[in-house]
């Protein structure tokens, strides 16, 4: 009898209940909140459900040595987490993004590329602010990339520059991407006049299939020659796009843009969520990262919209760009473009800005990959 009681006491010590602290409960509450937001409000459910459940997985109180936690070497979750830690999930997601993305809007009106470049100020604005708050340049670079509004890039860069902050950076990047429809519209309205919001842009010309085939090849060669450190992201992005546009690899393009990207999204979401173990995540640094992440989105939206207004000074009447598509320079595809369209239609129901906004939106993907390459080149 005594043995049974001893065994039960010993077993109790192994359970999550015995090892639980308030920190774990806070993180579990955050995980449940993410799942709630995804189901109730449909906020980025493809990301928030895996991340939210990952947070639950990562915050079951464990005792060391059980070899099941995400940070315990050789455990199942640790093996899956290698894709985040060693950075091979993000390029695979970029392959899928490339295979899904239609660059026609950009090819038909290539000046929209410049808006995608302007919005990258968000990254470097947050970088400078992070330095002011006492982060090291490597950490500041990893935090700044949140302003690129690109989850895979944020994970890729933080894995190399500041692995300890990766959980907070990834969760922050994905959270703010989900909150693009909340963060951006007030800034867009604040910076534009009613007249500017009513600008109707010329419809994009039809782009020939040859141009679409040339784009990924030239785009890749040029950007990779300029920033070779961005090779994994740029290479996979443009490769995926060539699979789509070549017209002869439909099966590969379908796999890259469908099952492959879904599998990697599940793995990246759940392991990033699981990496937010309370003892690693609940720190003052994480709070600062969330604050800087929000600021980087604000700066990116601000510079994108202001750049269009500035650019319009040099464009003839009839060729002017609606500044409401300036926000789409952050690369949250296609949410940022959808925000441009929705805000535009609030002022003119027949002014469909979606396709125009897709130009800077996909340019933002290229721009953030180039900016990421620069950060790696200077800081890694």
């Amino acid at each position: 009898m005594e043995n049974i009681i001893n065994n039960l006491i010993q077993f109790w010590q192994y359970t999550g209940f015995a090892n639980c602290t308030a920190q774990y409960l806070i993180m579990i509450a955050i995980g449940i909140l993410f799942i709630f937001l995804a189901i109730k409000f449909d906020w980025e459910p493809m990301l928030l459900i895996p991340i939210g459940f990952g947070i639950l997985i990562g915050n079951i109180p464990l005792f060391a040595g059980l070899n099941v936690g995400v940070y315990e070497e050789g455990s199942v979750f640790n093996i899956l987490y290698q894709g985040v830690q060693r950075g091979f999930y993000p390029p695979l997601i970029f392959l899928g993004i490339g295979a899904m993305t239609d660059f026609s809007a950009l090819i038909s009106n290539p000046k929209l590329l410049l808006i995608g470049a302007a919005a990258q100020f968000g990254i470097f604005g947050a970088y400078a602010l992070a330095l002011l708050l006492g982060f090291s340049p490597s950490e500041a670079g990893a935090i700044g990339i949140i302003g690129g509004a690109d989850g895979p890039t944020a994970i890729f860069i933080s894995g190399r520059l500041a692995p300890d902050l990766m959980g907070a950076i990834a969760v922050s990047a994905y959270s703010y991407m989900a909150l693009v429809p909340v963060i951006q519209p007030p800034i867009m309205r604040l910076l534009t006049t009613k007249k500017e919001r009513l600008i109707r842009m010329r419809p994009p010309r039809a782009v020939s299939p040859t141009e679409k085939k040339i784009f990924p090849i030239i785009g890749f060669l040029l950007t990779a020659f300029i920033v070779p450190s961005g090779l994994p992201l740029l290479g996979m992005l443009f490769f995926g796009n060539l699979l789509k546009e070549s017209g002869v690899t439909r099966r590969l393009a379908n796999t890259a843009s469908g099952p492959l990207v879904d599998i990697v999204t599940i793995l990246i979401g759940v392991t990033v969520g699981a990496s937010t173990q309370a003892d690693q995540f609940l720190q003052l640094k994480s709070v600062l990262i969330f604050g800087l992440g929000a600021l980087s989105f604000v700066i990116a939206t601000f510079t994108g919209v202001m750049f269009v207004k500035f650019f319009n000074l040099f464009l003839k009447e009839g060729n002017k760009i609606n500044p409401l598509i300036g926000n789409a320079g952050v690369s949250a595809v296609p949410d940022a473009a959808r925000v441009s369209n929705n805000v535009g239609r609030e002022y003119d129901d027949k002014n469909y800005l979606l396709m125009h906004a897709m130009g800077p939106n996909v340019a933002g993907v290229i721009g953030s990959a180039v900016a990421a390459g620069m950060l790696l080149g200077f800081l890694a």
Binding site: P110, A128, A363
Partner: protein, 291 residues
């Protein structure tokens, strides 16, 4: 319960990644052990990126007796973290603790690290003549040639790098981030401006070619003019008009404007019954209808 306990021992087994990395023959005033004594020591290095458990492996100075000293089992200090070091005291007094061997070594002898099977020699090195407090170490941790070390580095890398990291350099030359921001943004802009210029030219060439093809076709002049006009101003409205025309055409020529509302059930002879089909026994995935 037993499963829980068994999982404690599930560390990765990559004993072949262990290397003899450094040793000292004549220790008079170098590293001290826990008893304050100076003895011969051997440093092992885990060259892998996973934890290696060396319990059950052997260390010896006799190629004819590979099982001379076994690393004891059940002690956590035999689990060597990735790219980390462990020092073993070779003072011939095994009773002092886990990492104390039952032998010492002398010049001309070999030190051998043997796998858990007691047969596979994973690494070996011949002991040279060494002065007092001199250590013999690999030039690069875990691989490469051996030499007499300039300074001893037990439980540490044989070569330490003291150069400034890129991040430290940036912190020194650009504490506020302005240089980084301006440099990086100029590169981002340059890359996208070049891309813009290239695709502007490609676009012009494409439009020119398209016009040329239209002009060269055998279509009547009116059709050519219409195509040219459409190409000039192809937009959402044109496509919407085309789509509407196609829809109306389909509406007029198809039988779908009025359904027959007749349902016909056909009998089919087959041994397979849908009642036993797996797909009918699975619940449909729940869907949220949002309006």
């Amino acid at each position: 319960m037993s499963l829980l306990l068994v999982s404690f021992g599930a560390a990765a087994q990559q004993q072949s990644a262990m290397r003899i990395n450094e040793f000292m023959l004549n220790n008079t005033s170098d590293l001290q052990d826990d008893f304050g004594e100076h003895g011969q020591w051997v440093e092992l290095f885990n060259s892998s990126y996973g934890t290696v458990d060396i319990s059950g492996c052997y260390l010896t100075n006799d190629p004819n007796n590979l099982k001379k000293y076994m690393f004891p089992k059940g002690d956590l200090i035999t689990k060597i973290k990735p790219r980390q070091f462990v020092v073993i005291w070779a003072d011939g007094n095994q009773h002092k603790g886990t990492l104390y061997t039952n032998f010492t070594f002398a010049p001309g002898e070999e030190i051998l690290f043997v796998g858990g099977d007691g047969k596979t020699v994973i690494d070996r090195v011949t002991v040279p003549n060494l002065a007092e407090n001199q250590s013999y170490a690999r030039k690069t941790d875990g691989k490469g040639e051996w030499n007499i070390a300039q300074s001893t580095t037990p439980r540490a890398a044989n070569v330490t790098h003291t150069e400034e990291t890129k991040s430290q350099k940036m912190a020194r030359i650009d504490p506020y981030g302005w240089i980084m921001a301006l440099t990086a943004m100029s590169v981002v802009f340059s890359a996208l401006v070049i891309l813009y210029l290239i695709f502007k030219q490609i676009g012009k060439a494409s439009i020119k070619r398209s016009k040329k093809n239209t002009a060269a076709s055998n279509a009547p002049a009116s059709v050519k003019a219409a195509v040219a006009a459409a190409e000039e101003a192809t937009g959402g409205e044109t496509y919407a008009a085309i789509a509407m025309a196609l829809h109306l055409f389909q509406e007029e020529n198809d039988a779908h404007d009025e359904e027959s509302f007749i349902v016909t059930l056909n009998h089919t002879d087959r041994t397979y019954s849908p009642w036993s089909s797996k797909i009918y026994s699975l619940r449909q995935l729940p869907q949220i209808n949002r309006k």
